[in-house]
């Protein structure tokens, strides 16, 4: 390895990539725009979901129940249809997320201590939102119901003292949510989005930089110089590793400023993870460049690699939910490890004592992919 020759390649790449302001901007602006769009859009939280209220009872009790829903931040009563048909029509039109029907006997049943029921219709096509809404509805009703029961017991005791005790047993679930106490889905998604964006950027830049030299013929010229494949590879990837690290730092900073993502752990540790991870993406980029002859092929190959790697990285779809075979496959996906590292360091403040298997995996993958690609790259045309 001759550092002077590596330096020449690096210098040339910088000359080529950063000469024009337009090219410089291309390295920074699109990743950041993508990050912002993703960051704003990728959100599974349910708040102020639209609720239709069909009150067939219209008593103080039914109004109290409605007030309980309106008091929750999860619901907003946006429609008050007059009939069941109208309510279902609203669901058909996607105008509401859920609807509640309070039956005519509701207030009277409650007053007499009889069990009653309300009907809840949930727009289930988005199963995830539906599950969360259903949980919230049950919570509100449960609290309301417990209040009614206590009220009723108290009144009954007033009439027949000694029979019913107020201090009935009950269990109360106390939740302690770690790492993301407000349960904001952005905290979960943003680290994954950041990882995916630097993957795409570094993959594409490396693959294209090498294939472009093939297309214009300068690769052949380089091959007849005494430069070694390892020097050429290092020289071609180093600039993009730097661009990748710069983009990643910018994105993490934006995540903290714009999306208020916590940063609990060590910055150095995150940087180390990013460096190890870049070995893999740059290695894959190089590999793509060795199998592609044109830039178009390189783009398509990048896309073919990136799509499944992105989907199977656990960025939005938890790996735990996947079929077991697919879960095994994800162990071959470097994105998986880096996302775990990012979430661990950013949200949990985890250190090497917890994350060492991920770091180890990234190091092993990075070196393996890098050496495989470098070994495929020969200074030969056949």
């Amino acid at each position: 390895m001759n550092p002077a020759r590596v330096k020449e390649i690096v210098r040339k790449e910088f000359h080529q990539s950063f000469r024009e302001p337009r090219l410089r901007a291309m390295m920074i602006v699109p990743p950041i725009l993508q990050f912002l769009v993703f960051g704003f859009v990728v959100n599974l939280d349910v708040e102020r979901s639209r609720l239709a209220w069909l009150d067939q009872d219209n008593t103080p009790a039914s109004r109290e129940l409605r007030a309980a829903f309106e008091g929750s931040t999860y619901f907003e009563v946006t429609h008050t249809p007059a009939t069941q048909k109208a309510l279902e029509d609203l669901l058909d039109r996607d105008a509401i997320h859920s609807g509640i029907v309070v039956p005519p006997q509701f207030g009277e049943d409650l007053a007499r201590g009889r069990a009653t029921s309300i009907q809840i219709l949930v727009e289930g096509s988005n199963s995830n939102t539906a599950s969360i809404i259903a949980n919230y509805v049950r919570d509100v009703v449960r609290t309301f119901s417990a209040g009614q029961l206590n009220e009723w017991v108290r009144q009954k005791r007033a009439g027949r003292p000694g029979v019913i005790r107020l201090n009935a047993p009950g269990i109360d679930l106390q939740q302690r949510v770690w790492y993301n106490p407000e349960l904001r889905s952005r905290n979960y998604f943003i680290p994954g989005v950041a990882v995916n964006i630097i993957t795409l950027v570094t993959l594409m830049l490396t693959a294209m930089a090498i294939v472009r030299e093939k297309e214009i013929g300068t690769m052949e010229q380089l091959m007849v110089t005494p430069i070694r494949p390892s020097e050429l590879m290092l020289g071609k990837t180093l600039p993009f590793a730097l661009v990748g690290l710069l983009d990643f730092s910018l994105i993490v900073a934006l995540g903290m400023i714009v999306f208020r993502i916590p940063f609990q752990g060590s910055g150095l540790l995150l940087l180390l993870g990013a460096i190890l991870f870049l070995f893999s993406t740059l290695g894959v980029g190089m590999f793509i460049s060795t199998v592609s002859h044109t830039q178009q092929q390189a783009i398509m190959a990048t896309f073919f690699f990136f799509q499944p790697a992105f989907m199977l990285s656990g960025f939005a779809f938890p790996i735990r939910n996947m079929p077991e075979i697919v879960q095994w496959i994800t162990y071959l996906n470097p994105l998986r490890y880096f996302i775990t590292i990012c979430r661990g360091v950013l949200l949990k403040g985890s250190g090497l004592n917890v994350l060492w298997p991920e770091y180890l995996a990234l190091a092993v993958f990075g070196i393996a992919i890098m050496s495989f690609s470098a070994s495929r790259f020969r200074k030969r045309l056949d």
Binding site: N2, H15, R19, Q221, V224, K379, L381, D382
Partner: protein, 252 residues
């Protein structure tokens, strides 16, 4: 010939699958010689040159360039040759100077020689006034000379030029051949392919290549002499070329 052999090719064959691009090529090139490789497109000239540069591995046979076997020591070969490919292949988004600096760097020209070599290349290519221009803005002939300049920065004893003058106007072509002559006078071996027949006359010796085979080898004068007859008292290089190809086709 008493001079040292710069390039020795023995029974060199290259196949791509079922297609034989070069078949049993044998020839020697002496140091300081301008050796021309002539033949129609697809005759195997570029393939042979690429093997000599260590870009392709020979299927069988042997080639020695500057004393190094191209199949066994391709990297040593690369340090002692300059190569200019068929296609213009400099970075046209770098300036003239940046291209020279880059190639000086990757060829490992020692730091104390670098400035002198770059100046030499700039002077040779007459690009001293254009050193900060982007290469893409240069005219074809200048680009060609810059490419040659980049290829000889490290003072290689052997220079391979694959159709260096294709697509260049006649005046620029003439000037380019003057450069080749200068290099030869400095003792460099120049191995050049072309399909311009008149350029064959500038070479010390030529080989005619057709369908992967060398079908004629000798000085331009000797080849013409062989063809001289009553009906063709002043045969041109083109006549030589056509005649040999006809003979070859008749054999097949």
């Amino acid at each position: 010939m008493q001079r040292e052999t710069a390039v020795r090719i023995e029974h060199l064959t290259k196949r791509f699958g079922a297609f034989t691009a070069a078949s049993d090529v044998t020839l020697d090139v002496a140091q300081g010689e301008i050796f021309g490789f002539l033949g129609p497109n697809g005759a195997g000239k570029s393939t042979t040159i690429r093997i000599l540069c260590g870009l392709l591995a020979p299927t069988s046979g042997r080639a020695v360039v500057s004393g190094f076997d191209v199949a066994k020591e391709p990297e040593k070969v690369k340090a002692s040759i300059g190569y200019m490919s068929q296609k213009f292949s400099l970075y046209d988004d770098l300036t003239v100077e940046e291209n020279l600096e880059f190639f000086a760097g990757v060829y490992g020209v020692p730091a104390d020689r670098r400035a002198a070599r770059m100046q030499y290349a700039l002077d040779m290519a007459e690009l001293a006034d254009e050193r900060t221009r982007l290469t893409r803005l240069l005219a074809g002939g200048w680009k060609q000379r810059l490419a040659l300049g980049c290829a000889i920065l490290h003072e290689p004893p052997v220079i391979f030029l694959d159709e260096p003058t294709s697509g260049v106007d006649p005046v620029a072509r003439r000037a380019f051949w003057d450069l080749i002559n200068d290099l030869s006078h400095q003792g460099k071996t120049v191995f050049v392919t072309t399909h311009y027949m008149e350029e064959a006359e500038y070479c010390n010796r030529i080989a005619l290549m057709y369908k992967g085979k060398v079908i004629a080898l000798g000085t331009p004068a000797a080849l013409r002499e062989q063809l001289r007859s009553d009906e063709l008292p002043e045969p041109t290089m083109e006549d030589v070329f056509v005649r040999y190809i006809e003979q070859e086709d008749a054999k097949a």
